[in-house]
Amino acid sequence: MSAPSFAVPHALLPSVRLRRRLVILAGSIAALAGLLVYLRVDPIAAVRDFHYVTDLIREMLPPNFRLLAVKPSIWNSLVQTVSMAFLGTLVGAGIALVLSVLAASNTSPNRWTRLAVRTLLATERCTPNIVVLLVLLIAVGIGPFAATLSLSIGSVGMFGKLFADAIEHVDPGPSEAIAAAGGGRLHAIRYAVLPQVLPSVVANCFYAFDVNLRAAVALGIFGGGGIGFELNVARSVLRYKDMFACLILIMVLINLMERVADFIRKRLFSMEGELR
């Protein structure tokens, strides 16, 4: 006698489902263990040596805010980090705008320019900031200038594709009207394309500033100057109380700048019509 046809399908039987889940669970654990062995990481050691973590926390507390009085250059380094992000975003956006006009199918002079610029942008997007920075540190020397340049170059990659896509999606009507009235390609770009993409360009600038501020902190650690540099100095001389103070300053700075950017963005977009 075979099983009656109204039975629950075999694959949905609770015992079968349970077994399948157990197999998946066991498989994941085995895979995780295998990967950890490959990395030569011993997670049990982390638990066994947990006192290092508590030691560190004890070392870090309380944060040494006297640092701000003793070392006034900390204030400067905060401003420097913001400046790096600001300038990097702005220069990146400017270069990206020019390149994206060349990369967009409706404004590019010809296919080969378009292909070349697109390829350049794609390569750039895939190059991590750190690679660019390491090269620039050698070329222009250690300091905030190298980090600013590296952020600009990174922003070009980030912006270029976004802008080019925005330009390709503009309404062709105004450009055609300008062409019909005898305007050249540059006129069309200035008076038809640019006004249409400007809001998205500005919005992307704010987003990129947010990303770049974090990146500016990170690049500082590698010798790019700013508060990241101070943090790393405090860490490498084992002054953990100073490091914790820098840490809190970074958090405050990033949250504060987020608020400021939000405020400016709201004001800017409330008068969006005038912006053009």
Binding site: L36, L39, V135, A139
Partner: protein, 263 residues
């Protein structure tokens, strides 16, 4: 006639913002120690340096396979851990599931965490756990919580209250509501964002490697510090390929998930 109609007057209202912007740029440039002489010299130096970077050291590519795998594996382990943790943070940070004090606590933790770049988290963890991939895994897992946790919380808060009520009305306990209503609701967007996060983590992992998490970032940094520029090119090209492949894979998988297919 035409030339008279054209005047600078219509640009006048842009004057004040323009002046402020220019002033800010100059101040920022001064802060960043922008120096065009250095830049020109740097470009010249950079171009002459390119000669040192090329050709890449072909023999070094086989040696790059292991570090590249380490970089990827760090992300492979860290992203699911971060996603799993962010479910807990997400549940505890949702208005319609958690009590206000717990929500506030979780939301603040997530906000603090979002304010910290992964590399800063790594520096602290390296001080605690020492150099190595373990600190990198922890840093990326914690870093993922910031983005994914907020996402899950927001997604849960958007669930229609009536759905939760009807589940409770047929006698589901709070855990059953979470298991059978909330999780299925947020899982697709969590999976899709986790895949995106994986891509972000690959880039971050390269950076973390340079600070001491190991992997391809470490190789790159070490090669440049030891002035082995040809080897550095090999590492940089490997990194490029890694990031490119992860971006493609992530795009492909997310498109499939959003298209309703299975992974």
């Amino acid at each position: 006639m035409r030339s008279k109609e054209f005047s600078l007057a219509r640009y006048r209202r842009h004057a004040r913002p323009a002046i402020v912007l220019v002033a800010l740029v100059i101040a920022a440039a001064w802060q960043c120690e922008v120096n065009f002489r250095d830049l020109l010299k740097g470009i010249a130096k950079g171009l002459s340096m390119l000669a040192f970077f090329f050709p890449p050291e072909w023999r070094a590519f086989p040696e790059m396979i292991h570090p590249a795998l380490v970089t990827v594996i760090i992300c492979v382990i860290a992203t699911p851990i971060g996603a799993a943790l962010s479910i807990f943070f997400g549940l505890a940070g949702a208005r319609n599931l958690a009590p206000p004090w717990l929500r506030l606590l979780c939301r603040s933790l997530i906000a603090i965490e979002r304010g910290l770049p992964e590399i800063v988290i790594l520096l602290i963890l390296v001080a605690a756990f020492g150099l190595g991939p373990f600190a990198g895994i922890m840093a990326l897992a914690i870093g993922s919580i910031g983005m994914l946790g907020k996402l899950v919380s927001d997604a849960i808060e958007e669930i229609d209250g009536r759905v939760l009520d009807s589940a409770a009305a047929v006698g589901a306990t709070r855990l059953q509501v979470i298991r059978h209503v909330v999780i299925p609701e947020v899982l697709p967007s969590l999976v899709s964002h986790s895949i995106f996060r994986f891509e972000v983590n690959v880039r971050a992992s390269v950076l973390l490697g340079a600070v001491g998490a190991g992997g391809i970032g470490y190789e790159l940094n070490a090669a440049i510090n030891q002035l082995e520029y040809n080897r550095a090119t090999a590492a940089a090209l490997t990194t490029l390929a890694l990031v490119f492949v992860s971006e493609r894979a992530s795009d492909f998988l997310r498109a499939r998930i959003l298209g309703g297919g299975t992974v």
